[in-house]
Symmetry: D2
């Protein structure tokens, strides 16, 4: 931690700041410049609340030197994390595609869509059985029945499955069916749920909260990692800004930033980021070009009657065309798909 004193800080104030730092257990190094005194403080836990010092009289600014996360940081673990699930890898040279409907709606629907996914060469099927909905009156998902249908469809077409977990009580249930847990944007700081997922062994895809900084997102990953589960990958899905033509603003810069700060893979979800079908293909292409380790896309063969998020689902033909474009773009940057 580095503490910058006010230009006109008194000797008494400087001593008081040093005393506080020492009482909190820091080793203190003081440099007296022409205009300002700067204090370096070394040796305490990374998550020390720096406001404890910034509130003291005579203090101008306080900076934390270390990142508040450790296990998630690139400096702790230099090599990229590579997540392997059967014959699928996330975080390697290949760009992983995840596709499927927003919600599992019926046996016919999930089997039809699983077939489309498998025929396109994609290996991971998405679908929600427990749905987080803004309105209490909206379709809330099929629950366990949905999980069963999705597992059967995935097995039939030799696909992996990923589905969302919304509460601790459902972890055990969902664990019996899924290959990958999805933690949704609204639960990114549901710390109780993060801790419990840290005790599981299956990969967890952690979506970024709509108002989460990259640092907070990595702190939430730290919750899972510190519980013992090392198979975490991130998913950028748009942040909330003043621009409201699109549902969210897709923060693609987060992809190279995460790759710099962390060793965890990061995928992108253009369907939720934009919320409108015609925006999905250009933004999926942009995400691959920006270096995403994977893309998650919602599809539906009858979006008019989808029980949730139909307007952002791609039709099968558009989806197949997009997969072809993504292959060319992956190739252009030296990756494959």
């Amino acid at each position: 931690m580095v503490v910058i004193l006010e230009k006109n800080a008194t000797q008494q104030q400087i001593e008081d700041v040093i005393k506080h730092l020492e009482d909190y257990g820091f080793q203190v190094h003081t440099s007296i410049g022409v205009e300002r005194t700067v204090i370096g403080a070394i040796g305490v836990q990374p998550n020390f609340d720096t406001r404890k010092i910034s509130i003291l009289d005579g203090v101008a600014e306080v900076y934390r030197v270390t990142t508040p996360y450790k296990l998630a940081s690139r400096s702790f673990h230099e090599e990229n994390t590579l997540i392997k699930i059967k014959d699928v890898e996330i975080g390697g040279n290949q760009v992983a595609i995840i596709a499927g409907p927003c919600s599992i709606e019926s046996e016919e629907q999930i089997f039809r869509l699983a077939k489309i996914v498998a025929d396109s060469g994609v290996k991971i099927l998405r679908g929600g059985a427990f749905k987080p909905r803004t309105s209490p009156y909206a379709f809330q998902g099929l629950g366990e029945e949905g999980l069963k249908l999705m597992r059967d469809a995935a097995d039939e077409y030799n696909l992996l499955m990923i589905t969302e977990v919304m509460q601790i009580e459902h972890i055990e249930l969902i664990d019996r069916y899924t290959d990958i847990f999805q933690l949704g944007a609204r639960n990114m700081q549901n710390f109780s749920l993060l801790k419990e997922l840290g005790k599981t062994e299956k990969p967890v895809m952690l979506k970024r909260g709509i108002a989460a900084t990259i640092e907070e997102w990595l702190m939430s990953a730290e919750y899972i990692l510190s519980g013992g589960n090392k198979n975490v990958f991130l998913c950028e899905r748009g942040i909330r800004t003043f621009e409201n033509y699109t549902r969210n603003t897709f923060d693609l810069s987060a992809i190279p930033v995460v790759h710099k700060k962390s060793h965890l893979p990061v995928v992108a979800d253009p369907s939720h980021a934009t919320g409108l079908r015609d925006q999905v293909p250009p933004m999926a292409r942009a995400a691959v070009a920006a270096g995403a380790d994977g893309i998650m896309i919602e599809i539906h063969d009858d979006p008019d009657h989808a029980l949730s998020d139909g307007p952002q689902a791609l039709l099968p033909n558009t989806f197949l065309k997009l997969i072809d474009e993504l292959k060319l773009i992956a190739h252009a940057i030296g990756r494959k798909l």
Copy 2:
């Protein structure tokens, strides 16, 4: 719902839109203007996903006519909701004050602070036993032991208590001790938890999420109300913006807006909104002047050693001086405190 067609929409497109609306169960009224066709669609559930129509060819804009919440709206319930807990009222002419430490830290601490709160005339004691912390390495609260200590302190000084619930499994436990449940900002869209709180009977204070619109906040209140619990009040605690001198941006305009759109009381939390002790008194005064039905303030008599959020806690003397100022401001706008 009102659907505006593109200026150059074809007859075919207009008919297709009408067919979709009728298939979704709407009654349709079409007005053909000089430049545009406008379609009114009446008769479906308030949470219909309007993007289902906006995605259709030839559609320029779609507007929902009704609010997506009902029980929380002023048009459903014209009178202000008045929450009564023993001899305390929230939502009436009196401005309710809630004060106490961020976390319950020890028996001595909570008793000392409860005494300060009671001596100031304030009637509701706050304190956290289960703490949502960004870092997995930070103090997570005393758990049930904290609840017991806080209940004893509240009883000793004849105070009501409010404490935060973070997960469904804790509701029953916390219900044995608390008078009011607090639902924190990070859990504002933890829909599973909202539903369970709808089944309880005690008042719930619902904090606004840092990136929640006022509409989404009222939708979350709707989850609790629709479960049967009518004792909900709201708490504005700052939203996330580009300005980062303060921890959050305190959105005081939300207070008159909530009073216009809803019948639910709304209190304000300047401690979390600003994050810095010296900002709390001016912002507490501003919140009362803006019409808040209550103010929640964090206090500590030894903030340097507080286990969480010490830098935003008021010292007892500043707190007492602030209470006097708030009385004058409440009086200036025809309320009391």
Copy 3:
């Protein structure tokens, strides 16, 4: 400037950073901690682009120690700036009120409104002759004719006048009529205009840009101050956030922050911040309670036919009632109005 090296920075990288700093003219002090090397760099202009260092290999973080503004800072000028114009003071114990229409529309209109302002005891009349409008098709103001009418109305009722300047070519013209220049939010970073206003002598009210940080706002004040004009006061008028029920989000915390960081007075404009008449009185009250040195309020006696911003103008009766409430609130915090 303080430079934090990466945990695993090589000796080579550290030396390269030091060489860069020395080449830029800094005096360098290096502290080698257990985990990290920290370099203090002293002695260059406050606006050094710190990214020049943060881009170097091995660098984790770079912090500027000094504020990038100087003349506007409290540490440069400890006493509050008090602006005196005839018998009116801005920045002292008295809360200054500025009131009038959005635009000057006609001789009758500005005289009628000037009379209402004067009768209420308010001493500064606002009104726009050159209007910044989002649409090229909207009313753009009466120009010089408006300035003349407003000057006559102000003189008739013994009021000071404030009006907006939008371009350099108009400074001389407006200077012949006005007592105070207003620089609008959209021009807060029109640096050419700021420089020219620095050469004038009359007070300048500098409105905050809708996306300006407090630091950028003070940097724009620095442009005027460094030109030689010391009579600058600031005006908070709302920032742009994701919440769009109100036109902008009124950032009242900016008031105590400005008072801490700077010696310049700061007033608040609830009319533009909220954009809706019924929000103005509670937010005006809140601004006085938060410590604003003044309040600017738009009024109109026929808002239905106002040529601009009628919906946010207070009717005369509401305005008079508000002035009475503001007096009580000013009194509650030891000020007068």
Copy 4:
């Protein structure tokens, strides 16, 4: 315009709303639904301030049916605008690249960089002679001397040039040298300057303001178009959000949105959007993949000593490698570069 009445609006209120609408010159069509009355109002200027109606008693919501811009809209002009300058086209199938330094610093510098640009096959040279700087103490550009040097360098290497205009007084001067005017983000709503640029004939590149909605951006284009200059293209360069790891958040979704709403070409500036050199290549690739009609990139062969924005400038080798990648990506989506 569509006006939705409150559920419990009285007959008196409804009549009052209709009277207001008629007084403003609207033709009124009223539909009385089961729950609500909806009024369609046809026939007034597109920029009518809808708040004039939303403020009336009994009104729930008001929606503008038409866009507030006309000349910039796709519905007014269905074909893409194609801007031709000598043998260069912007807005066609080819992706235009603009490259050069942030500022013109010296004769040697601009000639060296112009050669690098020309050798790479790029045809448009950028460089600033008048610089908008946050600090009054920062390098403000070489002025006319810079324009001359840049024109000579452009001519020597057979390049077009683009440079920024910051104030009306400079238009005539800059017009003598440049091929394209650049209007910077901070001046996007400098309406006086927009109007004057509408009277010129040369193409104008209009950068998006950091807090401008897409609608406001198109409204600013409307100012130029309505002045008679049809050669306008847009430039997305990042918006301000809560995320501050990157200088701005690059809103790539704006590209397909602009293409849908408007006929104007839109280019992207990853250098200013990210502010850090290592973010520029992935974001440039993403912008081409998203469909940008051009990319503007800052380069420098000695960025350590650049007088402005060195940290975001690409080194020549990285730039050449990037051009090759962009060609492949353009090809992948059926365009060329």
